[in-house]
Symmetry: C2
Subunit: 289 residues, 2 copies
């Protein structure tokens, strides 16, 4: 009989991720705070829905969580109706939320008291990656726990790697977001500069993307940036949540992040322009006259 | 009979570039301020050397210049012994220096009075690109002037594109350097963060380079950055010269470059650490305890 798994949190990421598990042949039980989403999910994919995280997790070998932030995560994992109340010894809890390393370590310890394994496993690849089953997963935790979860995560991952002990997945995701902040701000300053200088920026990008200035953001975002199109992609609100986590972590370990802190403030300006849901590349929007 | 061309400025870039012209079958006459370099060049490649830029340029269909900055450029182009004093009507002057758009427009006007075409044609690809004949060339100027020079520049270019009127090549190069400033600072902040957090940064980069944080700098510089190796590549002194040009241009057109200006200041700190000749990726060095 196929594995019983459960998925908690059917947002833009979790909804298709849970769908890939069901399509891969697992018996999936889902839970979502807004019940209608869970109903939509079962009509689309089959599977089961549950009335609480604990009920969804009951009897599952693997429980996946993908929610908004540290507080959401604690609320679906801990307490009377949380997943740990339903899980059995030997099962594994995988958290796909981008959250702090601290909450990951906290949950690993609590889960261990019930002999439940825990992995922090934030993803990158965005909504498109979730829908196509092509996510990249950065994992922290114990190797034997990872070994149990990895084959199942392959249902929606293009690349999945254990990077070290618990918390390491979250720290790696922070590195990812810090890099993106620098790349996008540099690209936005360059495009604004080029537009004000009257250049054919698309032609310039075609040339400079062949060399040391090249980046994924340059190749995949310059056209929409030049058109001022931002109604897609990874939202500014989520980026600010992630950067806040990185900045707090940096303060704990004495890492100076001057560019990241500045770009975070620029995203505040984008939010003030009404850009809460705009793509991360909207840093260019705040430079317009 | 093959074309007569001349090359002024046999630095780390110009020396191999002029060599590629000679190897491609052109009759090359070189000039260099330090005469020994010109002597070394003729012993290695053949060709001729001249006692002044004017003498080198005399009788050439195309004259290439690759020197340090605006002032060096004016000194080899203008005046009694400058290239324009030796050039004939109908010839073309190509400037490979990374310089200001202003000096490019100034020289185009002066050259036009002698019916000499002018192109600003800064390159990217570094010393390795010059040696392998794989440079990228960003060109500004008139299409008919470009048509005369392009086939010859192919001796050392992988990619060569006319981007618009005179000055456009320099403006494109500025966009290139602005992008690099953001990418490298983001990467440096991320690697410093990861090292202080105790991560296996090479493993993290292997994962995050598959997604939206990817960049040429990440792929080609993270290993040397993690080892603290900076004795190669594009020097901090040159990067600061280029960023100064971009910042001055930005002030003229009202483009705000907050990240670029900050990173330029960080390069000052790298210079103060003795890193004048270190690679651009040495932004990480100033973050060490």
């Amino acid at each position: 009989m196929s594995k019983r798994v459960s998925f908690i949190g059917l947002g833009v990421m979790g909804f298709p991720m849970a769908g890939h598990l069901q399509k891969a042949g697992y018996q999936v039980t889902v839970y979502n705070r807004t019940e209608q989403k869970a109903r939509d999910w079962t009509s689309q994919y089959g599977g089961q829905m549950a009335a609480s995280p604990a009920e969804a997790a009951s009897g599952a070998e693997l429980v996946f969580v993908c929610v908004g932030n540290d507080d959401d995560l604690r609320s679906v994992v801990l307490g009377q109706s949380g997943v740990l109340a339903g899980m059995q010894a030997g099962a594994v809890l995988v958290d796909h939320t981008t959250a702090s390393a601290r909450v990951a370590r906290e949950l690993e310890q609590i889960a261990a008291m019930q002999e439940i394994g825990f992995l922090d496993a934030p993803v990158s690849g965005g909504q498109a990656g979730a829908e196509n089953g092509q996510l990249t997963i950065m994992v922290g935790g114990k190797p034997d726990t990872f070994a149990k979860a990895e084959p199942v995560m392959k249902a929606y991952a293009r690349f999945c790697r254990l990077l070290g002990e618990c918390g390491t997945g979250q720290l790696a995701k922070m590195m990812n977001q810090i890099c993106i902040a620098g790349v996008v701000q540099g690209l936005a300053e360059a495009l604004n500069f080029g537009q004000r200088a009257g250049l054919d920026c698309a032609a310039v990008v075609e040339v400079i993307s062949k060399g040391a200035a090249q980046s994924w953001q340059m190749e995949n975002r310059h056209q929409t940036m030049l058109k001022g199109e931002y109604e897609f992609g990874f939202a500014v609100d989520w980026m600010r949540k992630d950067l806040a986590i990185a900045l707090e972590q940096a303060a704990q370990i004495g890492a100076s992040l001057p560019m990241t802190a500045m770009v975070d403030q620029f995203y505040q300006e984008v939010q003030n322009l009404g850009g809460q849901r705009w793509d991360t590349s909207s840093l260019l929007a705040r430079m317009k006259p």
